[in-house]
């Protein structure tokens, strides 16, 4: 058996983390992307820049601030303690929050581009045909932006799978709770288990290649993506 049960547990945890993060990001990212694509507000620039920050910041920087915020003395930590939930650091929930922030631009930007490419006209047409804004979103915007949603979901998922720095800062290395594949590989290397590291690292390369292959092969038929 090339993969140990610890490896399999790490893979399972990674898939759970990436799936949950992607679902949350599609729900949270859609209104943000819609707003960024259509607003004439002066806040458009600053909000767009904040959403894009994880693209350029080292993951350790994001992880460091999240650690402080979610720790016992941080605002988030004090709030979760007040609710009786304890702190989110070194927990799966904390990892999900970190991943959502870390992968945010990879979901928001393809959606924003897709919404911008649709433009205001189809929305105006739908309104003159008696569709209210919610109706228009589900019957016009969603189908027209479908390629953007697919791109956003794939990029959000894949990017979360590839996360390492943020996990290490706020999640540590707890089996079945925070030890994802990237951390498990790091552990193998630290322990000089190069054969084990090879299997997992190879699986990651194969996975990432297949995801990107699917994405780039489908680009022809898409109207837009980042």
């Amino acid at each position: 058996m090339p993969l140990t049960s610890a490896d399999l547990a790490a893979i399972w945890l990674t898939l759970q983390l990436a799936s949950l993060t992607t679902v949350i990001l599609l729900i949270v990212g859609t209104p943000i992307a819609l707003w960024l694509a259509h607003t004439r507000s002066r806040l458009r620039g600053p909000i767009g820049a904040i959403v894009a920050l994880p693209l350029v910041l080292p993951p350790t920087v994001i992880g460091f601030y999240l650690l402080l915020a979610m720790g016992p003395h941080g605002y988030v930590g004090q709030f979760t303690q007040y609710l009786g939930l304890g702190t989110l650091t070194f927990s799966f929930a904390g990892l999900v929050i970190g991943s959502v922030i870390y992968s945010m631009p990879f979901v928001v930007q393809p959606l924003q581009n897709a919404f911008a490419a649709i433009g205001p006209r189809p929305l105006e047409v739908a309104a003159t045909l008696r569709a209210n804004p919610w109706d228009t979103f589900f019957t016009v915007v969603l189908p027209l932006a479908r390629p953007g949603f697919i791109t956003a979901a794939i990029l959000g998922f894949a990017h979360t799978v590839g996360e390492f720095g943020v996990v290490l800062m706020i999640g540590g290395n707890i089996p079945d709770k925070t030890r994802v594949v990237s951390v498990q590989i790091y552990d193998h290397v630290e322990a000089l288990e190069y054969a084990q590291a090879h299997w997992l690292a190879g699986a990651m390369v194969a996975f990432s290649f297949l995801v990107l292959l699917a994405l780039y092969s489908s680009r022809k038929s898409q109207t837009s993506w980042s």
Partner: protein
């Protein structure tokens, strides 16, 4: 219920201000006519609610859509209007049929006055129902767009230069459908255009816009003949006359058109039409010559007995424009200043207007 459209709009942009106060007939086709940048499209968008004018009162046949003084604004999707954009803007992810049904299925059954079969037959698109929008020609797309708007059974149809994006062949393909629409459906239309030809063919009423202000507004026959409006001064000036078919001479292919409220008539070469049918013709000001006596032994078909009403300068020194009256039907004649002096024209004088050509607008 009053059959009228009341509009008061004030809307400011950097470098542009729309400021108008209009009472328009609540039936027939009203053309909003003017150069690009005159505020026609903005006006239409404000009426639809696609743009929210800062100061506005919009009332359509008894329904108040906006009253900024009471902070009342009905959202676009709750206004019983149909909007035709310059480009058809069909939904690319839906078939022609699904596009047509998009508005239709959002209308309560008891409010539906136009059904799918009627609309598709009216616009000649029945054979296109299963096609995708990208497989249609520009003219077909625009016809689907018009049918789609009709299927919401609108109380007002707003058309923003529906033919502007089409070449002249496609235009002449759609115009007959618009004329049928006008004849068969009792829906008031506001039609934005900068084409004199489209306006002459379709409009019953015309509003002349310039830089966001109304220069003139009134029935088409009357307004085109108004000497105080820039329309009359151009080389293309002329009047539109809607008469009724008197009789038809099969041998000469000549149709007699009775002037409204008059015993006088015009004769035009035309295919046969039933007696009593309305027919619209355009008479250009430059095609009318004036004479002190009825012409005899002339190849000119049409000679009307007219009274001189008034006169104004044309767009050049050499010409003047004379407004004439043929038993209530206004006419414009563009003649040289020299001829005017030779004839000694004065108000109230009776003359014979010889009309070199009459263009049938159908």
């Amino acid at each position: 219920m009053t059959s009228q459209i009341n509009l008061r709009l004030q809307h400011h942009y950097p470098g542009f201000a729309l400021d108008l106060d209009l009472q328009l007939p609540g039936k027939g086709v009203t053309a909003l006519y003017g150069h690009s940048g005159s505020g026609k499209t903005t006006c239409l968008r404000c009426i639809a609610g696609l743009e929210r004018a800062s100061q506005a009162y919009v009332q359509v046949n008894g329904h108040i859509w906006q009253d900024s003084q009471r902070n009342h604004f009905v959202p676009v999707h709750q206004r019983a209007l149909g909007y035709i954009f310059q480009e058809a803007s069909l939904f690319p992810h839906l078939s022609v049929r699904a596009n047509l049904e998009f508005g239709l299925k959002r209308i309560a059954h008891q409010e539906r006055r136009v059904d799918l079969a009627h609309a598709t037959e009216l616009l000649g698109i029945t054979h296109l129902l299963t096609r995708a929008p990208h497989n249609l020609s520009g003219g077909e797309r625009q016809r689907v767009g018009i049918a789609r708007a009709l299927l919401t059974s609108p109380k007002l149809l707003l058309m923003d230069e529906p033919l502007a994006a089409l070449d002249s062949q496609r235009k002449s393909e759609i115009l007959p459908y618009l004329q049928r629409l006008h004849a068969e459906l009792d829906i008031p239309v506001l039609y934005v255009s900068h084409s004199q030809d489209e306006v002459a063919r379709l409009a019953d009423h015309i509003v002349l816009l310039n830089e966001g202000k109304v220069l003139g507004s009134g029935p088409i026959g009357e307004t085109l003949a108004r000497l105080d409006l820039p329309l009359a001064r151009g080389d293309d000036a002329g009047v539109v006359i809607e008469g009724r078919v008197g009789n038809y001479n099969l041998n000469y292919q000549l149709l007699t058109l009775q002037l409204p409220g008059s015993t006088q008539h015009l004769r035009v070469t035309h295919a046969s039409m039933a007696i009593g049918q309305p027919l619209r013709v355009k008479v250009q000001a430059r095609d009318i010559s004036l004479s002190l006596h009825p012409a005899e032994h002339s190849s000119i078909l049409n000679s009307l007995r007219v009274t001189v009403v008034s006169e104004t300068a044309a767009d050049n020194q050499a010409h003047v424009l004379i407004r004439l009256d043929a038993d209530g039907t206004p006419l414009l004649a563009r003649i040289t200043r020299y001829s005017r002096d030779q004839l000694g024209l004065r108000t109230g004088q009776i003359l014979w207007a010889q009309i070199k050509s009459v263009a049938v607008l159908a």
